[in-house]
């Protein structure tokens, strides 16, 4: 018997029992469909996280003010305001692997930004320095960023994001326009490029930037120099751990923290956050994959069960074939081809179902998915393997039947 004849024989046998074939295929079909959909979802999620990390700026490390404690009682993160723009400048100067630093002052109490008859409350108003676009990897669409001069003299200039521009100027160029913040006139010098929403769903284009000096002296009316955070960009990802260690040592020295004393600052790298997120989604997708594999196992056992029933039902046919000269291996090939055809067909259908499910998830739930060719290939191989593995035992049983006994079977 050649391969083509064996295949035709197998397909014929499967078509003869349509309902049984369909029900047997269901287990594998659902298993493969969920594997494909899960992998697509997992890959989509990790690509989204990756995109968002990249949107934050590459190789970014945040320095946050630490927690004050008195008598063993912690006042919580940010309760001491010890970080200053001088720290930022020192880090940029002393740590060679840090390419640029930007101190960030979150401006409180900015209610409205007014331009003519329009007004808008920005989600995010920050004071920073001239290196901010470089650190955040966030270029300007139009105009220029504010200058060193502006920072030195606390000039009333601002750079705005696309959302603010849209709401205040309805698509007209904001450059050179005057907006009023806390009833003071600010000149718009630049428009940031559109970035979209970030990892926690905030609109990053709803951002207003002013020189940090302007933020402290003019908007807050403060004489202190403390900032909410310092952003560092490290030259390459590989240097991040070393740079973090050097920054820690430098800040220990600058803040006169002796060994054993609690730090008054905290370092956080975006890559760490990213890998934490990636780890969570990896664990999730492994759990889902395990579930899918269990369903494949159950489906495989279903195939084995049906093939055993089929061998018993067709004992007489096997006897006739043996009397006509079929060898054990001919019978083995016939039944094995049947179970492989069954599971492979289920695999192909499951693949189509999984692909359309992930398309549906993307289309209707707006979750990102990414179909992977690898998962498709592995699923097909896997369903083939299931057919061989679970079909082997029934096929071997069929091939070992004694022709005389088999012919006598009622």
């Amino acid at each position: 018997m050649n391969a083509w004849m064996i295949l035709r024989l197998a397909l014929r046998a499967l078509v003869k029992n349509k309902v049984r074939t369909a029900l047997t295929m269901l287990g594998i079909l659902i298993g493969i469909a969920s594997v494909i959909a899960m992998v697509a979802l997992g890959q989509g999620a990790s690509r989204m996280v990756e995109d968002q990390i990249n949107a934050m700026g590459r190789n970014i490390v945040m320095v946050l003010p630490g927690a004050a404690s008195s008598g063993g009682f912690s006042w919580g993160s940010g309760s001491i305001q010890t970080l200053t723009p001088d720290d930022a400048a020192a880090i940029a100067k002393e740590v060679p692997t840090v390419a640029a630093t930007a101190p960030v002052v979150r401006v409180r109490g900015v209610r409205q930004v007014v331009a003519g008859s329009q007004n808008w409350v920005p989600d995010n108003a920050m004071g920073t320095n001239t290196d901010f676009p470089q650190v955040r990897d966030w270029p300007l669409d139009e105009g220029t960023f504010f200058s060193e001069q502006d920072v030195r003299y606390a000039t009333k200039v601002c750079v705005i994001g696309a959302t603010i521009s849209q709401n205040l100027f309805q698509g007209a160029s904001p450059l050179g326009q005057t907006v009023r913040i806390k009833n003071m006139p600010f000149k718009v010098v630049g428009l940031l490029t559109r970035k979209g929403t970030n990892a926690i769903g905030q609109d990053q284009d709803d951002t207003l930037l002013v020189p940090w000096t302007t933020a402290k002296r003019v908007l807050e009316g403060s004489t202190f120099n403390n900032v909410s955070q310092i952003l560092l960009s490290v030259d390459t990802a590989g240097h991040i751990p070393a740079a973090m260690a050097e920054v820690t040592a430098l800040l220990h020295q600058r803040h006169r923290i002796r060994p054993g004393e609690a730090d008054d600052f905290r370092l956080m790298s975006m890559t760490e956050m990213a890998s934490a997120t990636a780890e969570t989604s990896k664990v999730m997708s492994i759990l889902l994959l395990v579930t899918a594999c269990i369903s494949l196992l159950v489906g495989g056992i279903g195939i084995m069960n049906i093939m055993l029933v089929s061998v018993v039902e067709r004992t007489r046919e096997i006897g006739v074939r043996m009397a006509m000269g079929a060898r054990g291996r001919d019978i083995l090939a016939q039944f094995l081809a049947e179970s492989v055809a069954l599971s492979l067909a289920a695999g192909v259908l499951g693949m189509l179902l999984g692909a359309s499910a992930s398309w549906g998830i993307q289309h209707f739930l707006q979750w990102p998915t990414q179909l992977s060719l690898g998962a498709v290939a592995v699923s097909l191989l896997f369903s083939c393997g299931i057919g061989v593995f679970f079909g082997m035992y029934p096929a071997v049983r069929a091939s070992r039947l004694d022709p005389i006994e088999a012919l006598r079977h009622e």
Binding site: M1, M324, G325, R327, G328
Partner: protein, 227 residues
Amino acid sequence: MTPLIRLEGISKTYHLGEVDIRPLQEVTLEIAAGEVVSITGASGSGKTTLMNILGCMDRPSEGSYRLEGREVAHLSPDERARLRNQVFGFVFQSFNLLSRTSALENVELPLMYWRSLPGAERHALALEALRRVGLADRVDHHPNQLSGGQQQRVAIARALVTRPKILLADEPTGNLDSRSEKEIMDLFGQLHAEGITVILVTHNPEIAAVAAHRIRLKDGRVQEDVR
């Protein structure tokens, strides 16, 4: 001249726990090419066992079986399968056609093994075999659409399609009415005339009488062997 089949001291023993069952004991016989042979005997006399051994479905426990002078008593299962495919044709009492399969495909069945024929050639051979048994107009019928006599003729066509030297028939008319029985026996007569050796296992004396060479078994031994 070497006989087509020569059995010498053939015994078959089954071990059932403590008890030994010996359906065949010391059977010695010869069958010449082109003969019609009948094997008769009461049930339990060893007819079926003898036929299974003759048809290479079963192996004897002892003795020698020479097929055209070649010892086949101890061949491997695959070698025996090849002999069943190429030397023997089998006809059973209950026809043993594959259900839900057309007459033509049933007849093609033996051609699927041990040879790689293109589909068209297989069809042509099967069609010719069906024509020989007078069923050229029933090729697409399934067994349940055919009468008993017609089903047995399909089974004979299936046995003939490989052009065997020996046709082994086990109670071929046991399930048929007398008219169909006559048809089938006429067909065997015709095959004999064409030079095929026909071995009939039966308990029907009328059928046994057709054979020129009659073997009668009793309790696993040859009781009578007349030509």
